[in-house]
Amino acid sequence: MNKLNKTSKKTNKKSNIKAALSLATSALLGTGVLSAGVAQATEADEWQFDSAFLIYSEVDRVSATEAIIAGTKTFANDEILSLKLTIDALTGASANGAVAQPNAQTFTRPSGNGQYVTPAGETPLDDTFHDTRVQLNAQWTQPLADNITGSVGGHFSKEYDYLSLGVNGNLAYDFNKKNTTVSMGLSYFQDTFTPEGGIPKPHSSMLVGDSSSPEWDAEFAKTRIGDSDDKSTADILVGITQVINRRMITAFNYSYSMVDGYLTDPFKVVSVLNNEGLAQDYIYESRPDSRVKQSTFMQAKYNFDDSLLNTVADVSYRYMWDDWGINSHTIDTRFTIPVGATSYIEPHIRFYQQSEADFYQPYIIDDQAPIGFVSADYRIGEMTAITIGAKYGVVLNGGNELSFRLEYYRQTPTNAGFTDPNALNGQDIYPVVEAIIAQVSYSF
C-alpha cells in the first residue's frame, strides 16, 4: 500500500509539473481559454515536452552549454502547435585567423580595448569570446484539405551582439495511400549584427599598440566602417518522401539558399607575411556580400528484423555546393539497437568533408597584396571532420524517456595546395580541433 501511495504521489507530482508548464505555456500564448476545454476533453490533447541539456567543449578553445525545452500540443482536427525555447552560453577562445609564428605575436581585442599575446609556435586564439543567446521558435501545423498539410512558423534569436528574426511556411501533399509525400517550404531570416568594437574596414590593418594613449580611439575608429550590418537569408526546400515497404522509408530533398548582406566575420584577420614567412601585419578579412548555396539530401531508414536485433538504421548523405567554390559531402549514420524492452543504444558516425572557398588563404605574402576577397577562417578552408558517439535511452514508467549522449568531434583542416614560406616550417598551420559533446535529454 505504502509503495502504491508513493508511486501515485510521484505521478501526481510529475503531472503537476507538466500541468504547471502547460498552464504557463498557455498563458504565454494567450490560448488558455481557447484550449482549456479541449485539453480537458481527452488525455491525447496534453502537452508533450522534450528537454535537453548539452555541453560542447573544445580542447583549449570554445565551450558552450545549451538548454532546450520544446512543447508540442495536438489539438482536435490534427492541428499541432510546437514551441521551443533555447538558451545557450559560449565562453572560451576562438581562432582569430592569423597563423602561428616562430615568435610571440600581439593582437588587439575586437573591442579595441586591450591586447593579447600569443606565444611562439601557437595558433593565435582570441580568448575574449563569450556570449549568451536566447531563441524562441513557434510552429503551427494543420491539415488544409484531405491530403494537404500546411505549416507556418516564426523564429526569434537574440545575443548580445546579434539579432535574428525568421518566418517559414511549408506545404505537404500526400498521395498513393499516404506512401508518397511531396513538400515545399520557404523560409526567410533577417539578421542584424552589432559586433563589439563595430564593423572593421575590410583589408585595413589591425591597430596594435598602446590602447591607453590619447590618440588610440581616433586611430582605432579609422579601421571601422560602422556599428552594425545586416544579412538576409531566403531558403527554398522541396522534398519527396517515399515509403518503400513495411520496413523502409526514404527521403530526397533539394534546397536553394540565397544569403545577402554582411557575410564577413568581423573578428577574423589574415596574417600578412614577408617572403621568409614572418608576420608584418594583420588585415581584417573580406568576404563577398552574397552567397548562393544549393544542396541535395537523401536519407533512408530501415527497420531490420529479429536476426539483427530489430535495429533501425538511419543513413543519410548530403552534397552541398555554393558560388564561393565550396562543396561538401556529409554522411550521417545512426543505428538504434533495442536493449531489452525499454531501452536502446544508438551508435552514431558522421563524416564530413569540404573544399575551400575560392578566396580562402591561410595567409598573404607581402608582395601579393590583397585586391579582392580574402579570408583565413579555417571553417571555409579545406577540411574533413568526423563525429563518433553513442546515445543510450531508457523509457521510464509512464512512457517518459531519459537519454544520454556522448560524442567526440574532430576537425582536421588540410592544406589546399599552398606552399609555406621557410619561417612557417615546423608551425602547425592547420591545427586539429577536437571537441566533446555531452547531452542529457528528458521527454515527458
Partner: protein
C-alpha cells in the same frame, strides 16, 4: 597491373579530347540521373504499404527525424563549425555563430 595500362593511355591524351570526354560523361550522367528520377517517381505508385501495415513505420525511431531536439542541437553545432548547413531542413541564419 597490365589491365591498368590502357587507362593511363587514355588519360595522357591531349587536353581537347579530355574536355570532349568529360562533356559526354556529364551528359550521360545527367541522362542517367533523369532516368533514375523518372523511374523512381513512376515507380512510386507501386511502392508502399497498406494502412494496416504501418506498425513499424509508426514507431518513433522510424520517423525521418526521430529526435528533433538532437537534430536542432547538432544543426547549431555544425552550422557554427563548418561551411555547410541545412539540406534536411532549412539551413537559414539564426545565430551569429558563423
Amino acid at each position: 597491373m597490365k589491365a591498368n595500362k590502357p587507362v593511363f593511355k587514355t588519360l595522357s591524351q591531349p587536353n581537347t579530347s579530355k574536355v570532349h570526354i568529360s562533356k559526354v560523361n556529364a551528359s550521360k550522367i545527367k541522362l542517367a540521373l533523369l532516368t533514375a528520377v523518372t523511374v523512381s517517381l513512376s515507380a512510386c505508385s507501386s511502392l508502399g504499404v497498406e494502412p494496416w501495415e504501418r506498425d513499424l513505420l509508426a514507431k518513433k525511431e522510424m520517423a525521418l527525424t526521430s529526435s528533433p531536439v538532437d537534430a536542432a542541437l547538432d544543426d547549431h553545432i555544425y552550422f557554427s563549425k563548418e561551411a555547410s548547413s541545412g539540406g534536411k531542413s532549412f539551413g537559414g541564419g539564426g545565430c551569429g555563430c558563423n
